[in-house]
Amino acid sequence: MSDQPLLEVSNLRVAFPTRQGVTEAVRGVSFTLGREKLGIVGESGSGKSMTGRSILRLVPPPGIVTADRLAFRGEDLRDASEKRLRAIRGSGIAMVMQDPKFSLNPVMTVGRQIAEAYRVHSKASAREAKRRALEMLEAVRIRDPERVYDRYPHEVSGGMGQRIMIAMMLIPNPDLLIADEPTSALDVTVQMQILAILDDLCGQRGMGMIFVSHDLNLVASFCDRILIMYAGRVVESCPASELRDARHPYTRGLLDSLPRLDDPRRDLPVLTRDPAWLTDDAPPEKAR
């Protein structure tokens, strides 16, 4: 493996033309990603999901994505053909969405969907694909893979649905996984178990991961590095272990507004938004 970064993003912008003028959802986001877990945190409307989607060119029209550089393993994604992009989606970069209910095909058994994901990216036989799919179901700790293989999405629970999504995304063996709020719809204990699976798979396969979430504590405890987004910009970037010492007033405000079990303080400080946050650039990350 060279020291080339997995993903390079420079001055990424996503704009939506509307009748009232152009709305910019993402306004100049830059980062590079190695084989690490990068968390992107922000409130609704901060552009965190759009950042994840624009990498795979999944921003719906009329959205316009521009960037000075958007490269995956050194390959420019901006002028990649749809055909080339289809090959990258899945086998190079995979994406797990928030809600398995809307991301799985409701009229196809989950096993066939996982096997299909494998066959699209390899020349395996149907039999081989089924074997791999069963293996994958086991890897995401589904107890009885044979039984679950023939189930339809409505017959499985939310937690199992999300495991199935993860199995489907990991079976083509991608180098980068973009997970957009993969556990927000799940109970806390199930959430922990899914994260443990992602954590292990990331470690074993040397996969890079972009973890998009609104949950600061979760990201701080799960990821290696964090970008905090506000109104389409990265306002702060820090190693996850140093989130508690974040300096930007927005990050501080978000942290303070969280109710905490270990803090009996009743009235929560309310975030007051400073217009300067809309234009200030993120201070450079402290040298480690």
């Binding site: 409130e43 609704s44 939310g158 109970d187 806390v188 204990t189 199930v190 959430q191 922990m192 178990q193 994260l195 443990a196 954590d199 609104h214 600061l216 504590n217 979760l218 701080a220 405890s221 799960f222 405000g253 978000l254 507004s257 969280l258 109710p259 905490r260 079990l261 270990d262 009996p264 009743r266 009235d267 929560l268 400080p269 309310v270 975030l271």
Partner: protein
């Protein structure tokens, strides 16, 4: 203020019958804020819906404000007991203005001075009169939840039932709504029941809480005990650990509780 004894709720028939609430008893004192915590499917919302009169099909005993309640409630009950729902996008009529949303309960209960009441209710939730003639789509999620709270408060109820009132909101907005609920409770001596999956939110607003799992009440404890980690039941301890953030070893230790 609220007393529930041996509440049972089941859905479906015969083979498909699912017991959602299985013999739950609890008491909420006047002026108290009581938390009901559990994972999805634990029956916490179903308990709340039975107390509020939204679910008619239950057995056991429910009494609110000293009066035993039958499954179907008279109009007067809703003057005492109001509810705020989780999704501020779904719980407001999209084609009714804030004014009309707030005027409806006043008209239903035949109260006078609708104009003054709406004005006061809006001020009380921190919105002010300028929001009165807006439509829900012109409001943010937090503002909508404030309208839903104003709609509940306009009847001057004694009991407020809250079903995950902040889980659809951003954390900064959640803090505002929690502060608002605490202030309203102190100002009106409201009795509250807060259903939530978030232990920290419950700890912030409530005095006591009950933990539910698979339709049963696992344990009742004070918020102070929760803060000090003095949960007796292993299920509650697991929930506590899960809410502390991701930890590889902790995730490994989780098990299912029947």
């Amino acid at each position: 203020m609220i007393r529930v004894e041996d509440l049972r709720v089941a859905f479906g028939q015969d083979a498909n019958r699912v017991t959602a609430v299985d013999g739950v008893s609890l008491t909420v004192r006047e002026g108290e804020c009581f938390g009901l915590v559990g994972e999805s499917g634990s029956g916490k919302s179903t308990v709340l819906r039975a107390v509020s009169g939204l679910n008619h099909d239950w057995t056991g005993r429910v009494s609110v404000a000293g009066a035993d309640q039958s499954p179907r409630r008279a109009k007067g009950f809703f003057k005492t007991c109001q509810m705020v729902f989780q999704d501020p996008y779904g719980s407001l009529h999209p084609r009714h203005s804030v004014d009309r949303i707030l005027a409806e309960p006043v008209a239903i209960h035949g109260l006078d001075d609708a104009d003054g009441r709406i004005d006061r209710a809006l001020r009380e939730v921190g919105l002010g009169p300028s929001f009165r003639f807006r439509y829900p789509h012109q409001l943010s999620g937090g503002q909508r939840q404030r309208v839903a709270i104003a709609r509940a408060l306009i009847l001057e109820p004694r009991v407020l039932l809250l079903d995950e009132p902040t889980s659809a909101l951003d954390v900064s907005v959640q803090a505002e709504i929690l502060n608002l609920l605490r202030r309203l409770r102190a100002a009106h001596g409201l009795t509250m029941v807060l259903v939530s999956h978030n232990l920290a939110v419950v700890a912030n607003l409530c005095d006591r809480l009950a933990v539910m799992n698979r339709g049963r009440l696992v344990e009742e404890l004070t918020v102070d005990a929760l803060r000090h980690g003095d949960a007796r039941q292993p299920y509650t301890q697991q929930l506590l650990r899960a809410s502390q953030g991701y930890d590889r070893a902790t995730a490994e230790s989780f098990r299912d509780f029947a």
